[in-house]
Amino acid sequence: MEHQVITIIAEIFDLPPEDITPTTYLFRDLGAESIDLLEIGVAIQHRLGLPVREDVLFLRDMRLHLMEVEAQGRSPETVLAAAYPHLSRERIAEILSDRDAGPVLQVRDLVAYVQHVTQPCASPSPALAS
């Protein structure tokens, strides 16, 4: 799955696949725009034949979800795990510590989404899903 996702991203950004790694940032490193994300979503849907919820795939509304933390008195880890069930506990912790530096979306987050919808029973963060 990782190879397929990297191939899609490389084609859309017209880059050699070897320039893209799992920890490449879509916005910070590649300068992605909304139309690029749309095209990635469409490629995952049509080429890989997978259902795509773009809000989840691209970690949209993260700021809104984190605002719920204060409003509902829940932990940020719990809120993000519920919103993005494809992300592991470790990845969510990294995102929370990294978000002040800019948009956090990385290639590995897309790979995790693809793996999650391919094998929906294998939730990476069951302990946080409640």
């Binding site: 139309i35 095209e39 849907q45 049509h46």
Partner: protein, 240 residues
């Protein structure tokens, strides 16, 4: 001039109307593979005279299940001609609220669902051309056509914006505002008002095909009026 077409597959949304019946053979003569949707058994029967069964698809914008089923498995299309339209008429203050809401849902929201499915399939291959057949009613209000006018303007906005957003990825759009034609809802009115300038369905279909062609691709995300000068005249009712 010989028209060139980079793509192959054309779909007519609402293709059983008279304009669709004119366009189908013309597109076939120019080498395109034509698909068409219908919303009723009568429409299906009309299309069967022109197309093979495998190219005829049921899509009723008034039926959410029909739209959902269609959007889940959209055809791989190169061209879309959107001929579907509302037939609801009446003074705005007298329209039935439930019927009005149903029309907005069908012609607006569900049409957008169809557009998204078609557009995403086109984006996957980075080519697509969409033509929305609007009306001069969108440009010039007429009593009894308020809902029709508003829906046309709203849908024009969808197509024009889609063209702006997706042109860099190979999908372009154009809106054709047709005037009074001896076809469909306009036929009886045109007959009753013979002094008004009209457009023949055959000429309208020929222009539609041109607008799909490679030669017309630079006519992009814009409106074209085809009305024989109907809206150009200050007093068209007096032009005898």
């Amino acid at each position: 001039m010989k028209l060139r077409f980079r793509g192959q597959h054309l779909m007519l949304l609402g293709g059983s109307c008279q304009l669709g019946q004119e366009l189908i053979p013309l597109a076939q003569e120019n080498g395109l593979t034509v698909h068409a949707t219908h919303a009723s058994p009568t429409g299906a029967q009309t299309l069967r005279r022109l197309l093979p069964e495998t190219s005829i698809h049921h899509l009723d914008l008034g039926d959410p299940a029909s739209v959902a089923a269609w959007a889940a498995h959209p055809l791989q299309l190169d061209y879309l001609v959107d001929l579907a339209h509302s037939t609801t008429e009446g003074l705005l203050l007298s329209l039935d609220p439930d019927q009005t809401q149903a029309q907005w849902l069908a012609m607006g929201a569900r049409r957008q669902t169809v557009l998204q499915a078609v557009g995403r399939a086109m984006l996957a291959r980075r080519f697509g051309r969409m033509l929305y057949v609007s009306s001069t009613a969108a440009a010039c209000p007429a009593p009894g056509q308020g809902l029709y006018c508003a829906l046309k303007r709203a849908i024009e906005g969808l197509y024009l914006t889609l063209g702006v957003e997706m042109a860099a990825r190979g999908i372009t759009t154009v809106v054709l505002r047709l005037g009074l034609a001896h076809a469909g809802r306009g036929a009886a009115f045109a007959q009753a008002h013979p002094h008004l300038p009209t457009v023949s369905p055959a000429d309208a279909a020929a222009l539609m095909l041109y607008l799909l062609s490679d030669q017309a691709q630079s006519i992009q995300s814009t409106l074209i009026t085809h009305d024989s000068g109907l809206l150009a005249h200050k007093y068209p009712w007096n032009t005898k």
